[in-house]
Protein backbone atom coordinates (compact mmCIF):
# COMPACT_ATOMS: atom_id res chain seq x y z
CA UNK A 1 0.00 0.00 0.00
CA UNK A 2 1.26 3.47 -0.82
CA UNK A 3 2.29 5.39 2.29
CA UNK A 4 0.18 8.49 2.98
CA UNK A 5 1.87 11.73 1.96
CA UNK A 6 3.61 13.55 4.76
CA UNK A 7 4.32 17.26 5.01
CA UNK A 8 8.10 17.73 5.19
CA UNK A 9 8.72 20.57 7.61
CA UNK A 10 11.76 22.71 8.32
CA UNK A 11 11.91 24.57 11.64
CA UNK A 12 13.73 27.88 11.67
CA UNK A 13 14.88 29.29 15.02
CA UNK A 14 15.49 26.72 17.73
CA UNK A 15 14.87 28.65 20.91
CA UNK A 16 12.02 28.10 23.37
CA UNK A 17 9.27 27.88 20.78
CA UNK A 18 11.33 26.26 18.05
CA UNK A 19 12.30 23.37 20.33
CA UNK A 20 8.65 22.83 21.22
CA UNK A 21 7.59 22.86 17.57
CA UNK A 22 10.24 20.26 16.67
CA UNK A 23 8.79 17.92 19.29
CA UNK A 24 5.22 18.64 18.22
CA UNK A 25 5.90 18.10 14.53
CA UNK A 26 7.59 14.80 15.39
CA UNK A 27 4.37 13.65 17.07
CA UNK A 28 2.02 14.54 14.20
CA UNK A 29 1.55 11.40 12.14
CA UNK A 30 1.25 13.17 8.79
CA UNK A 31 4.22 15.49 9.33
CA UNK A 32 7.92 14.81 8.98
CA UNK A 33 10.59 16.90 10.65
CA UNK A 34 12.98 17.32 7.73
CA UNK A 35 15.33 20.22 8.52
CA UNK A 36 16.43 22.48 11.37
CA UNK A 37 17.98 25.93 11.04
CA UNK A 38 19.33 28.43 13.53
CA UNK A 39 22.04 31.05 13.18
CA UNK A 40 23.54 29.92 16.50
CA UNK A 41 26.19 27.37 15.45
CA UNK A 42 26.77 26.39 19.08
CA UNK A 43 23.44 24.56 18.96
CA UNK A 44 24.67 22.02 16.41
CA UNK A 45 26.32 19.64 18.87
CA UNK A 46 23.35 19.62 21.24
CA UNK A 47 20.88 19.13 18.39
CA UNK A 48 22.89 16.19 17.03
CA UNK A 49 22.54 14.42 20.36
CA UNK A 50 18.97 15.40 21.08
CA UNK A 51 17.60 12.43 19.16
CA UNK A 52 16.21 14.58 16.35
CA UNK A 53 16.95 12.94 13.04
CA UNK A 54 16.67 16.05 10.85
CA UNK A 55 19.90 17.75 9.72
CA UNK A 56 20.92 21.04 11.32
CA UNK A 57 21.97 24.13 9.32
CA UNK A 58 23.32 27.43 10.54
CA UNK A 59 22.56 28.85 7.10
CA UNK A 60 18.90 28.95 6.06
CA UNK A 61 19.77 29.25 2.35
CA UNK A 62 21.73 26.02 2.57
CA UNK A 63 18.83 24.20 4.21
CA UNK A 64 16.39 25.45 1.59
CA UNK A 65 18.82 24.44 -1.17
CA UNK A 66 19.70 20.99 0.15
CA UNK A 67 16.65 19.60 1.93
CA UNK A 68 13.42 18.82 0.10
CA UNK A 69 10.75 20.63 2.13
CA UNK A 70 7.04 21.32 1.81
CA UNK A 71 6.64 23.78 4.67
CA UNK A 72 8.45 25.87 7.28
CA UNK A 73 7.72 26.89 10.85
CA UNK A 74 9.42 30.16 11.74
CA UNK A 75 10.28 30.74 15.41
CA UNK A 76 12.85 33.52 15.29
CA UNK A 77 12.84 36.96 16.90
CA UNK A 78 10.12 38.95 15.14
CA UNK A 79 12.56 41.23 13.30
CA UNK A 80 13.94 38.23 11.38
CA UNK A 81 10.53 37.06 10.15
CA UNK A 82 10.28 39.13 6.94
CA UNK A 83 13.63 38.05 5.48
CA UNK A 84 12.96 34.42 6.37
CA UNK A 85 9.40 34.49 5.03
CA UNK A 86 10.66 35.91 1.70
CA UNK A 87 13.17 33.08 1.33
CA UNK A 88 10.65 30.40 2.28
CA UNK A 89 7.97 31.70 -0.07
CA UNK A 90 10.53 31.97 -2.86
CA UNK A 91 11.41 28.33 -2.19
CA UNK A 92 7.73 27.45 -2.70
CA UNK A 93 6.98 26.50 0.91
CA UNK A 94 3.85 26.81 3.00
CA UNK A 95 4.77 28.89 6.04
CA UNK A 96 3.74 29.13 9.69
CA UNK A 97 5.13 32.18 11.54
CA UNK A 98 5.10 32.38 15.33
CA UNK A 99 3.28 35.42 16.65
CA UNK A 100 3.58 38.35 16.12
CA UNK A 101 3.76 38.30 12.34
CA UNK A 102 6.57 40.88 12.42
CA UNK A 103 8.21 43.54 14.58
CA UNK A 104 6.63 46.44 12.64
CA UNK A 105 3.40 47.01 10.78
CA UNK A 106 5.38 47.75 7.62
CA UNK A 107 7.18 44.40 7.78
CA UNK A 108 3.92 42.58 8.54
CA UNK A 109 2.31 44.18 5.46
CA UNK A 110 5.19 43.00 3.30
CA UNK A 111 4.88 39.49 4.72
CA UNK A 112 1.13 39.38 4.04
CA UNK A 113 1.74 40.71 0.51
CA UNK A 114 4.04 37.76 -0.22
CA UNK A 115 1.03 35.47 -0.43
CA UNK A 116 -1.64 37.71 -1.89
CA UNK A 117 -1.17 36.32 -5.39
CA UNK A 118 -0.10 32.81 -4.45
CA UNK A 119 -1.64 29.52 -3.49
CA UNK A 120 0.28 29.26 -0.25
CA UNK A 121 -0.86 27.94 3.10
CA UNK A 122 0.08 30.59 5.66
CA UNK A 123 -0.50 30.67 9.41
CA UNK A 124 0.32 32.93 12.36
CA UNK A 125 0.94 31.46 15.81
CA UNK A 126 -1.86 33.08 17.78
CA UNK A 127 -2.37 30.11 20.01
CA UNK A 128 -5.61 31.17 21.71
CA UNK A 129 -7.50 30.20 18.55
CA UNK A 130 -6.70 26.58 19.39
CA UNK A 131 -7.51 26.50 23.09
CA UNK A 132 -10.70 24.70 24.09
CA UNK A 133 -12.06 27.27 26.51
CA UNK A 134 -11.50 30.21 24.16
CA UNK A 135 -13.11 28.30 21.30
CA UNK A 136 -16.07 27.56 23.56
CA UNK A 137 -16.43 31.27 24.43
CA UNK A 138 -16.35 32.12 20.72
CA UNK A 139 -19.14 29.63 20.04
CA UNK A 140 -21.25 31.06 22.89
CA UNK A 141 -20.80 34.59 21.59
CA UNK A 142 -21.62 33.50 18.05
CA UNK A 143 -24.72 31.70 19.27
CA UNK A 144 -25.84 34.97 20.92
CA UNK A 145 -26.25 33.31 24.30
CA UNK A 146 -25.71 36.67 26.03
CA UNK A 147 -27.54 38.51 23.22
CA UNK A 148 -26.13 41.50 21.32
CA UNK A 149 -22.83 42.59 22.86
CA UNK A 150 -22.53 46.18 24.14
CA UNK A 151 -19.25 46.28 25.94
CA UNK A 152 -16.21 44.30 27.01
CA UNK A 153 -13.43 44.80 29.53
CA UNK A 154 -10.25 42.78 29.26
CA UNK A 155 -6.83 42.42 30.79
CA UNK A 156 -3.68 40.38 30.48
CA UNK A 157 -1.02 40.42 33.16
CA UNK A 158 2.18 38.59 33.88
CA UNK A 159 5.02 38.95 36.39
CA UNK A 160 8.09 39.19 34.19
CA UNK A 161 9.79 42.59 34.25
CA UNK A 162 10.83 44.23 37.51
CA UNK A 163 14.08 45.85 36.43
CA UNK A 164 16.40 46.15 33.43
CA UNK A 165 16.28 43.07 31.21
CA UNK A 166 18.55 41.74 28.50
CA UNK A 167 17.43 39.77 25.47
CA UNK A 168 15.74 40.46 22.14
CA UNK A 169 12.22 40.49 23.60
CA UNK A 170 12.99 43.72 25.45
CA UNK A 171 14.73 45.39 22.50
CA UNK A 172 12.37 47.36 20.27
CA UNK A 173 14.52 46.94 17.17
CA UNK A 174 14.09 43.16 17.38
CA UNK A 175 10.68 42.60 18.97
CA UNK A 176 8.90 45.80 17.96
CA UNK A 177 7.94 46.97 21.45
CA UNK A 178 7.12 45.80 24.95
CA UNK A 179 4.23 44.12 26.68
CA UNK A 180 1.67 45.02 23.98
CA UNK A 181 3.39 43.27 21.08
CA UNK A 182 5.09 40.49 23.04
CA UNK A 183 2.36 39.46 25.46
CA UNK A 184 -0.96 41.26 24.93
CA UNK A 185 -0.90 40.54 21.18
CA UNK A 186 -2.45 37.18 22.14
CA UNK A 187 -5.35 38.98 23.78
CA UNK A 188 -5.60 41.42 20.88
CA UNK A 189 -6.02 38.42 18.59
CA UNK A 190 -8.83 37.17 20.83
CA UNK A 191 -10.58 40.57 20.81
CA UNK A 192 -10.18 40.78 17.02
CA UNK A 193 -11.66 37.27 16.74
CA UNK A 194 -14.57 37.93 19.09
CA UNK A 195 -15.43 41.57 18.43
CA UNK A 196 -13.58 42.68 15.30
CA UNK A 197 -13.24 44.66 13.22
CA UNK A 198 -12.03 47.38 15.58
CA UNK A 199 -12.72 50.90 14.30
CA UNK A 200 -10.55 53.04 16.56
CA UNK A 201 -8.35 52.93 19.63
CA UNK A 202 -7.20 55.32 22.28
CA UNK A 203 -4.18 54.13 24.22
CA UNK A 204 -1.78 55.14 26.94
CA UNK A 205 1.45 53.29 27.55
CA UNK A 206 3.91 53.43 30.38
CA UNK A 207 7.62 52.67 30.46
CA UNK A 208 8.61 51.76 34.00
CA UNK A 209 11.78 49.69 33.79
CA UNK A 210 12.57 49.39 30.11
CA UNK A 211 12.86 51.45 26.95
CA UNK A 212 9.77 49.64 25.68
CA UNK A 213 6.34 49.86 27.32
CA UNK A 214 5.84 47.79 30.49
CA UNK A 215 2.12 48.56 30.74
CA UNK A 216 -0.67 49.93 28.59
CA UNK A 217 -4.36 50.78 28.73
CA UNK A 218 -6.51 50.87 25.61
CA UNK A 219 -10.09 51.87 24.78
CA UNK A 220 -11.61 50.32 21.65
CA UNK A 221 -14.51 51.24 19.48
CA UNK A 222 -15.66 48.30 17.39
CA UNK A 223 -18.29 47.71 14.76
CA UNK A 224 -21.92 47.08 15.79
CA UNK A 225 -21.70 49.74 18.53
CA UNK A 226 -19.44 47.69 20.77
CA UNK A 227 -17.01 49.52 23.03
CA UNK A 228 -14.32 47.88 25.09
CA UNK A 229 -11.10 48.18 27.02
CA UNK A 230 -7.84 46.37 27.63
CA UNK A 231 -5.31 46.77 30.40
CA UNK A 232 -1.98 45.00 30.32
CA UNK A 233 1.29 44.87 32.20
CA UNK A 234 4.24 42.51 32.58
CA UNK A 235 5.34 44.29 35.73
CA UNK A 236 2.70 43.29 38.29
CA UNK A 237 3.43 40.68 40.94
CA UNK A 238 1.35 37.56 41.49
CA UNK A 239 1.11 36.21 37.93
CA UNK A 240 3.52 33.30 37.48
CA UNK A 241 2.08 32.79 33.99
CA UNK A 242 0.25 35.25 31.71
CA UNK A 243 -3.38 35.48 32.80
CA UNK A 244 -6.25 36.85 30.75
CA UNK A 245 -9.62 38.07 31.82
CA UNK A 246 -12.41 39.15 29.45
CA UNK A 247 -15.81 40.34 30.66
CA UNK A 248 -18.50 40.84 28.10
CA UNK A 249 -21.87 42.52 28.62
CA UNK A 250 -24.80 41.79 26.32
CA UNK A 251 -28.57 42.21 26.06
CA UNK A 252 -29.21 38.92 27.81
CA UNK A 253 -26.48 38.89 30.44
CA UNK A 254 -22.72 38.65 30.86
CA UNK A 255 -19.91 36.30 29.94
CA UNK A 256 -16.72 36.18 31.95
CA UNK A 257 -13.75 34.35 30.43
CA UNK A 258 -10.33 33.68 31.88
CA UNK A 259 -7.63 30.98 31.76
CA UNK A 260 -9.67 28.71 34.02
CA UNK A 261 -13.37 29.07 33.23
CA UNK A 262 -16.27 30.75 31.45
CA UNK A 263 -18.96 32.13 33.72
CA UNK A 264 -22.31 33.11 32.27
CA UNK A 265 -24.97 35.19 33.96
CA UNK A 266 -28.18 35.18 31.90
CA UNK A 267 -31.29 37.28 32.45
CA UNK A 268 -33.34 34.54 30.81
CA UNK A 269 -32.48 30.98 29.83
CA UNK A 270 -31.07 30.75 26.34
CA UNK A 271 -29.85 27.93 24.05
CA UNK A 272 -29.95 25.34 26.81
CA UNK A 273 -28.22 27.53 29.40
CA UNK A 274 -30.15 28.18 32.58
CA UNK A 275 -31.24 31.60 33.80
CA UNK A 276 -28.58 33.23 36.00
CA UNK A 277 -25.29 31.47 36.69
CA UNK A 278 -23.50 28.75 34.72
CA UNK A 279 -19.77 28.02 35.05
CA UNK A 280 -17.87 25.98 32.51
CA UNK A 281 -14.46 24.96 33.82
CA UNK A 282 -11.59 24.22 31.47
CA UNK A 283 -11.04 21.03 33.43
CA UNK A 284 -14.52 19.85 32.45
CA UNK A 285 -13.97 20.19 28.71
CA UNK A 286 -13.03 16.95 26.99
CA UNK A 287 -9.39 16.31 26.07
CA UNK A 288 -9.17 17.05 22.36
CA UNK A 289 -5.47 16.85 21.61
CA UNK A 290 -3.57 13.62 21.25
CA UNK A 291 -0.43 15.19 22.68
CA UNK A 292 0.65 18.20 24.69
CA UNK A 293 4.00 19.88 24.89
CA UNK A 294 4.75 23.31 26.32
CA UNK A 295 1.24 24.70 26.33
CA UNK A 296 -2.31 23.74 25.57
CA UNK A 297 -3.18 24.43 21.94
CA UNK A 298 0.30 24.15 20.44
CA UNK A 299 -0.26 20.61 19.16
CA UNK A 300 -3.66 21.54 17.71
CA UNK A 301 -2.08 24.61 16.11
CA UNK A 302 0.59 22.55 14.33
CA UNK A 303 -1.93 19.84 13.49
CA UNK A 304 -4.19 22.48 11.89
CA UNK A 305 -1.26 23.80 9.83
CA UNK A 306 -0.28 20.32 8.67
CA UNK A 307 -3.90 19.42 7.78
CA UNK A 308 -4.24 22.64 5.81
CA UNK A 309 -0.98 21.96 3.95
CA UNK A 310 -2.36 18.58 2.92
CA UNK A 311 -5.89 19.72 2.11
CA UNK A 312 -4.86 23.10 0.64
CA UNK A 313 -7.24 24.92 2.97
CA UNK A 314 -6.83 27.94 5.20
CA UNK A 315 -5.56 27.61 8.80
CA UNK A 316 -7.51 29.03 11.75
CA UNK A 317 -5.18 32.04 11.97
CA UNK A 318 -3.79 33.24 8.64
CA UNK A 319 -1.22 35.93 7.88
CA UNK A 320 -4.17 38.19 7.10
CA UNK A 321 -5.36 37.72 10.70
CA UNK A 322 -1.78 38.28 11.84
CA UNK A 323 -1.73 41.51 9.84
CA UNK A 324 -5.01 42.70 11.39
CA UNK A 325 -3.59 42.15 14.88
CA UNK A 326 -0.46 44.00 13.79
CA UNK A 327 -2.66 46.88 12.57
CA UNK A 328 -4.21 47.03 16.04
CA UNK A 329 -0.78 46.98 17.69
CA UNK A 330 0.40 49.79 15.41
CA UNK A 331 -2.74 51.82 16.13
CA UNK A 332 -2.17 51.38 19.87
CA UNK A 333 1.45 52.51 19.59
CA UNK A 334 0.54 55.51 17.42
CA UNK A 335 -2.26 56.49 19.78
CA UNK A 336 -0.02 56.24 22.84
CA UNK A 337 2.68 58.23 21.09
CA UNK A 338 0.37 60.95 19.75
CA UNK A 339 -2.04 60.91 22.71
CA UNK A 340 -4.97 60.82 20.31
CA UNK A 341 -7.64 58.49 19.04
CA UNK A 342 -6.38 56.52 16.03
CA UNK A 343 -8.80 55.09 13.48
CA UNK A 344 -7.80 51.69 12.16
CA UNK A 345 -8.45 52.86 8.60
CA UNK A 346 -5.60 55.37 9.08
CA UNK A 347 -3.17 52.50 9.63
CA UNK A 348 -2.41 51.21 6.17
Amino acid sequence: MEEAKKVRIGIIGLGKLGILHTGLVNMIPRAELAGLADINRQLAKYIQQSGLKAPFFSDLGQMLGEVPLDAAIVCTPASANLGIAEKCIQAGLDVFIEKPLAHTFEAAKRIAALVSQKEVVHATGYLFAHMGLFKKAKSLLEANVIGAVHRFRSSMYTSEVFGRKKGWVYDRSQSGGGVVINVASHLLYLLHWYFGPVRSVFAQAKNIYLDVEDAASVIFECGRDVVGSLDTSWSVPGYRLPYIDVRVEGDNGTLELNNDYIKLYLYKSQKGFAKEWTTIYKIDLPVTSKFELGAEGLYEEDQDFVDCCLDRTSPAVTWQDGLEVQRLIEAIYRSAEGRAVVGLEEVE
Binding site: G15, K16, I19, L20, T22, G23, L24, N26, M27, N40, Q42, L43, K45, Y46, Q49, S50, G51, L52, K53, E160, K165, K166, G167, V169, G238, R240, Y243, D245, N258, N259, D260, Y261, Y281, K282, I283, D284, P286, V287, S289, K290, F291, E292, L293, G294
Partner: protein, 291 residues
Protein backbone atom coordinates in the same frame (compact mmCIF):
# COMPACT_ATOMS: atom_id res chain seq x y z
CA UNK B 1 11.10 -3.08 41.26
CA UNK B 2 10.34 0.11 43.13
CA UNK B 3 11.68 0.10 46.62
CA UNK B 4 10.01 2.07 49.32
CA UNK B 5 7.58 4.07 47.20
CA UNK B 6 4.92 5.28 49.62
CA UNK B 7 1.26 4.83 48.71
CA UNK B 8 0.28 8.44 49.45
CA UNK B 9 2.49 11.34 48.44
CA UNK B 10 1.93 14.98 49.28
CA UNK B 11 2.27 17.18 46.18
CA UNK B 12 3.49 20.79 46.12
CA UNK B 13 1.44 22.46 43.38
CA UNK B 14 -0.49 24.64 45.81
CA UNK B 15 2.74 25.69 47.53
CA UNK B 16 3.94 26.96 44.15
CA UNK B 17 0.75 28.96 43.56
CA UNK B 18 -0.74 26.61 40.98
CA UNK B 19 -4.52 26.34 40.75
CA UNK B 20 -6.64 24.90 37.94
CA UNK B 21 -9.80 26.35 39.42
CA UNK B 22 -9.39 30.10 39.57
CA UNK B 23 -7.05 33.02 39.77
CA UNK B 24 -8.51 33.82 43.20
CA UNK B 25 -7.41 30.42 44.46
CA UNK B 26 -3.97 30.73 42.83
CA UNK B 27 -3.48 34.11 44.44
CA UNK B 28 -4.56 32.79 47.81
CA UNK B 29 -2.08 29.92 47.51
CA UNK B 30 0.70 32.26 46.47
CA UNK B 31 0.14 34.59 49.40
CA UNK B 32 -0.61 31.90 51.96
CA UNK B 33 2.29 29.62 51.09
CA UNK B 34 4.80 32.43 50.71
CA UNK B 35 4.97 31.97 54.51
CA UNK B 36 6.83 28.72 55.04
CA UNK B 37 4.99 28.13 58.33
CA UNK B 38 1.83 27.48 56.34
CA UNK B 39 3.61 24.76 54.36
CA UNK B 40 4.97 23.33 57.59
CA UNK B 41 1.39 23.13 58.95
CA UNK B 42 0.42 20.96 56.00
CA UNK B 43 3.52 18.80 56.31
CA UNK B 44 2.53 18.31 59.97
CA UNK B 45 -1.05 17.39 59.11
CA UNK B 46 0.06 14.95 56.42
CA UNK B 47 2.62 13.45 58.77
CA UNK B 48 0.07 12.94 61.50
CA UNK B 49 -1.96 10.87 59.03
CA UNK B 50 1.09 8.80 58.19
CA UNK B 51 1.84 10.50 54.85
CA UNK B 52 5.64 10.62 54.83
CA UNK B 53 6.41 11.19 51.16
CA UNK B 54 6.62 14.66 49.65
CA UNK B 55 7.04 15.39 45.94
CA UNK B 56 8.27 18.92 45.40
CA UNK B 57 10.48 21.30 43.46
CA UNK B 58 13.30 23.35 44.94
CA UNK B 59 11.28 26.60 45.27
CA UNK B 60 12.63 28.84 48.04
CA UNK B 61 9.44 28.68 50.17
CA UNK B 62 9.42 24.87 50.03
CA UNK B 63 13.11 24.60 50.90
CA UNK B 64 12.56 27.03 53.79
CA UNK B 65 9.63 24.92 55.04
CA UNK B 66 11.75 21.79 54.95
CA UNK B 67 14.40 23.56 57.04
CA UNK B 68 11.77 24.44 59.61
CA UNK B 69 9.83 21.19 59.70
CA UNK B 70 11.12 19.28 62.74
CA UNK B 71 10.34 15.89 61.21
CA UNK B 72 11.91 16.62 57.81
CA UNK B 73 14.37 13.82 58.52
CA UNK B 74 11.51 11.31 58.51
CA UNK B 75 10.25 12.45 55.14
CA UNK B 76 10.92 10.63 51.95
CA UNK B 77 11.45 13.40 49.41
CA UNK B 78 10.78 13.07 45.70
CA UNK B 79 12.34 16.13 44.07
CA UNK B 80 10.99 17.08 40.64
CA UNK B 81 13.87 18.23 38.46
CA UNK B 82 14.63 20.50 36.72
CA UNK B 83 12.77 23.53 38.02
CA UNK B 84 11.36 24.14 34.54
CA UNK B 85 9.63 27.38 35.51
CA UNK B 86 12.93 28.95 36.56
CA UNK B 87 14.61 27.87 33.32
CA UNK B 88 11.79 29.30 31.22
CA UNK B 89 12.09 32.65 33.01
CA UNK B 90 15.85 32.76 32.52
CA UNK B 91 15.61 31.64 28.92
CA UNK B 92 13.69 34.79 28.01
CA UNK B 93 16.86 36.78 28.72
CA UNK B 94 19.62 34.30 27.96
CA UNK B 95 18.08 31.95 25.43
CA UNK B 96 17.47 28.27 26.18
CA UNK B 97 21.07 27.14 25.82
CA UNK B 98 22.31 30.19 27.73
CA UNK B 99 19.99 29.43 30.65
CA UNK B 100 21.09 25.80 30.79
CA UNK B 101 24.79 26.57 30.52
CA UNK B 102 24.58 29.24 33.23
CA UNK B 103 22.99 26.77 35.65
CA UNK B 104 25.57 24.13 34.94
CA UNK B 105 28.71 26.16 35.56
CA UNK B 106 30.63 26.12 38.81
CA UNK B 107 30.53 22.38 39.36
CA UNK B 108 33.77 20.85 40.57
CA UNK B 109 35.71 18.10 38.87
CA UNK B 110 35.56 16.09 42.10
CA UNK B 111 31.76 16.15 42.13
CA UNK B 112 31.67 15.20 38.48
CA UNK B 113 33.83 12.17 39.08
CA UNK B 114 31.96 11.13 42.21
CA UNK B 115 28.62 11.30 40.46
CA UNK B 116 29.47 10.21 37.03
CA UNK B 117 32.08 7.49 37.25
CA UNK B 118 29.92 4.40 37.25
CA UNK B 119 27.30 5.79 34.95
CA UNK B 120 29.91 7.16 32.59
CA UNK B 121 31.05 3.83 31.24
CA UNK B 122 27.52 2.90 30.18
CA UNK B 123 26.66 6.27 28.80
CA UNK B 124 29.69 7.52 26.95
CA UNK B 125 28.99 5.34 23.97
CA UNK B 126 25.76 7.19 23.21
CA UNK B 127 26.59 10.75 24.10
CA UNK B 128 29.60 13.05 23.84
CA UNK B 129 31.55 14.00 26.93
CA UNK B 130 30.45 17.63 26.64
CA UNK B 131 26.77 16.81 26.71
CA UNK B 132 27.20 14.17 29.40
CA UNK B 133 29.08 16.64 31.59
CA UNK B 134 26.30 19.12 31.10
CA UNK B 135 23.63 16.63 32.12
CA UNK B 136 25.58 15.54 35.17
CA UNK B 137 26.06 19.10 36.21
CA UNK B 138 22.41 19.92 35.78
CA UNK B 139 21.12 16.91 37.70
CA UNK B 140 23.52 17.55 40.53
CA UNK B 141 22.77 21.26 40.55
CA UNK B 142 19.06 20.54 40.86
CA UNK B 143 19.51 17.99 43.63
CA UNK B 144 22.12 19.89 45.61
CA UNK B 145 19.55 21.53 47.89
CA UNK B 146 18.08 18.16 48.82
CA UNK B 147 21.35 16.54 49.82
CA UNK B 148 20.73 16.56 53.54
CA UNK B 149 17.32 14.89 53.25
CA UNK B 150 16.31 11.30 52.59
CA UNK B 151 15.41 10.82 48.94
CA UNK B 152 12.58 8.47 48.03
CA UNK B 153 13.11 8.91 44.30
CA UNK B 154 13.92 11.58 41.75
CA UNK B 155 11.27 12.74 39.29
CA UNK B 156 12.14 14.03 35.84
CA UNK B 157 9.89 17.02 35.07
CA UNK B 158 7.08 16.26 32.63
CA UNK B 159 8.28 18.91 30.16
CA UNK B 160 11.65 17.17 29.84
CA UNK B 161 10.20 13.67 29.65
CA UNK B 162 7.71 14.77 27.01
CA UNK B 163 10.38 16.61 25.06
CA UNK B 164 12.58 13.49 25.06
CA UNK B 165 9.55 11.43 24.04
CA UNK B 166 8.67 13.75 21.18
CA UNK B 167 12.28 14.02 20.01
CA UNK B 168 12.46 10.24 19.85
CA UNK B 169 15.32 10.30 22.34
CA UNK B 170 15.52 7.24 24.61
CA UNK B 171 19.09 8.11 25.63
CA UNK B 172 18.18 11.11 27.72
CA UNK B 173 15.77 8.92 29.67
CA UNK B 174 18.22 6.04 30.15
CA UNK B 175 20.95 8.47 31.19
CA UNK B 176 18.61 10.00 33.77
CA UNK B 177 17.69 6.51 34.92
CA UNK B 178 21.31 5.34 35.23
CA UNK B 179 22.54 8.50 36.91
CA UNK B 180 19.79 8.52 39.51
CA UNK B 181 20.12 4.80 40.23
CA UNK B 182 23.92 4.71 40.25
CA UNK B 183 24.80 8.03 41.80
CA UNK B 184 21.91 8.60 44.18
CA UNK B 185 20.83 5.00 44.67
CA UNK B 186 17.13 5.80 44.49
CA UNK B 187 14.40 5.13 41.98
CA UNK B 188 14.12 7.46 38.95
CA UNK B 189 10.56 8.41 37.99
CA UNK B 190 9.34 9.95 34.74
CA UNK B 191 6.60 12.56 35.01
CA UNK B 192 4.51 13.13 31.90
CA UNK B 193 1.47 14.95 30.57
CA UNK B 194 1.14 12.32 27.88
CA UNK B 195 0.78 9.12 29.87
CA UNK B 196 -0.91 7.11 27.13
CA UNK B 197 1.69 8.12 24.54
CA UNK B 198 4.74 7.71 26.75
CA UNK B 199 4.07 4.22 28.08
CA UNK B 200 3.85 2.40 24.74
CA UNK B 201 7.03 4.18 23.64
CA UNK B 202 8.86 3.17 26.84
CA UNK B 203 7.77 -0.41 26.22
CA UNK B 204 9.13 -0.21 22.68
CA UNK B 205 12.39 1.34 23.93
CA UNK B 206 12.57 -1.32 26.65
CA UNK B 207 12.97 1.29 29.37
CA UNK B 208 11.37 -0.02 32.54
CA UNK B 209 10.93 2.88 34.91
CA UNK B 210 8.12 4.17 37.15
CA UNK B 211 5.81 6.65 35.43
CA UNK B 212 3.92 9.53 37.04
CA UNK B 213 0.94 10.70 35.00
CA UNK B 214 -2.50 12.29 35.29
CA UNK B 215 -5.13 9.65 36.13
CA UNK B 216 -8.58 10.51 37.41
CA UNK B 217 -12.21 9.66 37.12
CA UNK B 218 -12.93 12.73 34.96
CA UNK B 219 -10.32 11.98 32.30
CA UNK B 220 -8.68 15.36 32.95
CA UNK B 221 -5.33 15.54 31.10
CA UNK B 222 -5.51 11.86 30.19
CA UNK B 223 -3.97 11.77 26.72
CA UNK B 224 -4.49 10.50 24.12
CA UNK B 225 -7.74 9.31 25.77
CA UNK B 226 -9.07 8.09 29.10
CA UNK B 227 -9.70 4.61 27.70
CA UNK B 228 -6.19 4.18 26.35
CA UNK B 229 -4.64 5.35 29.62
CA UNK B 230 -6.82 2.96 31.64
CA UNK B 231 -5.89 0.04 29.40
CA UNK B 232 -2.19 0.77 29.93
CA UNK B 233 -2.65 0.96 33.70
CA UNK B 234 -4.22 -2.47 33.54
CA UNK B 235 -1.87 -4.17 31.12
CA UNK B 236 1.53 -2.48 30.98
CA UNK B 237 3.05 -3.98 34.14
CA UNK B 238 4.80 -0.66 34.88
CA UNK B 239 4.93 0.98 38.29
CA UNK B 240 2.38 3.75 37.96
CA UNK B 241 1.98 6.80 40.14
CA UNK B 242 -1.19 8.83 39.67
CA UNK B 243 -1.27 12.63 39.78
CA UNK B 244 -4.20 15.00 39.18
CA UNK B 245 -6.15 12.43 41.18
CA UNK B 246 -8.74 15.05 42.20
CA UNK B 247 -8.87 16.42 38.61
CA UNK B 248 -7.33 19.74 39.59
CA UNK B 249 -9.84 20.17 42.40
CA UNK B 250 -13.04 19.41 40.45
CA UNK B 251 -13.57 16.12 42.30
CA UNK B 252 -14.02 15.65 46.01
CA UNK B 253 -11.89 12.90 47.58
CA UNK B 254 -15.11 10.85 47.99
CA UNK B 255 -15.72 11.13 44.24
CA UNK B 256 -12.09 10.65 43.25
CA UNK B 257 -10.78 7.64 45.16
CA UNK B 258 -13.41 4.95 44.44
CA UNK B 259 -12.26 5.16 40.79
CA UNK B 260 -8.92 3.64 41.79
CA UNK B 261 -10.28 0.61 43.60
CA UNK B 262 -8.88 -2.45 41.87
CA UNK B 263 -6.69 -0.37 39.53
CA UNK B 264 -3.01 -1.18 39.28
CA UNK B 265 -1.80 2.16 40.58
CA UNK B 266 1.11 2.03 42.99
CA UNK B 267 0.97 5.52 44.51
CA UNK B 268 -1.06 8.71 44.50
CA UNK B 269 0.19 12.28 44.57
CA UNK B 270 -2.27 14.76 46.06
CA UNK B 271 -1.70 18.50 46.12
CA UNK B 272 -3.15 20.03 49.26
CA UNK B 273 -4.22 23.64 49.79
CA UNK B 274 -5.11 23.76 53.49
CA UNK B 275 -4.83 21.81 56.73
CA UNK B 276 -8.50 20.69 56.74
CA UNK B 277 -8.06 19.60 53.12
CA UNK B 278 -5.05 17.50 54.15
CA UNK B 279 -7.09 15.68 56.82
CA UNK B 280 -10.06 15.26 54.52
CA UNK B 281 -8.18 14.07 51.42
CA UNK B 282 -5.75 11.73 53.10
CA UNK B 283 -8.26 10.14 55.45
CA UNK B 284 -10.70 9.47 52.59
CA UNK B 285 -7.83 8.14 50.48
CA UNK B 286 -6.71 5.82 53.26
CA UNK B 287 -10.17 4.42 53.76
CA UNK B 288 -10.85 3.78 50.05
CA UNK B 289 -7.37 2.50 49.31
CA UNK B 290 -7.40 0.42 52.50
CA UNK B 291 -4.08 1.74 53.77
Amino acid sequence: MTMGLEKLILGSNAFEGVSYISRTQALHYMEHFAKEDNIVAILEAANSLGVRAFMCSNCPNIMAALQKFPKAGELSLLPVIPNAYEYAMEASEKGVLGAVLTKAKGFSMYQKVRLGLRALTKIKSVISKDVLDLLLELIHFELAGFEKYKLGGVVLHGQVTDLALSSGNPHILTIFQDLVRDSYEVEPILATHNFGVLLPQLIEWKIKIPVLGPLNQKGFMMRPSKDECEKLVEESGYTIIAKKVLAGGRLTPEEAFPYFQGKKVESFVCGIGSVPEAYHTFSVAKSFLKI
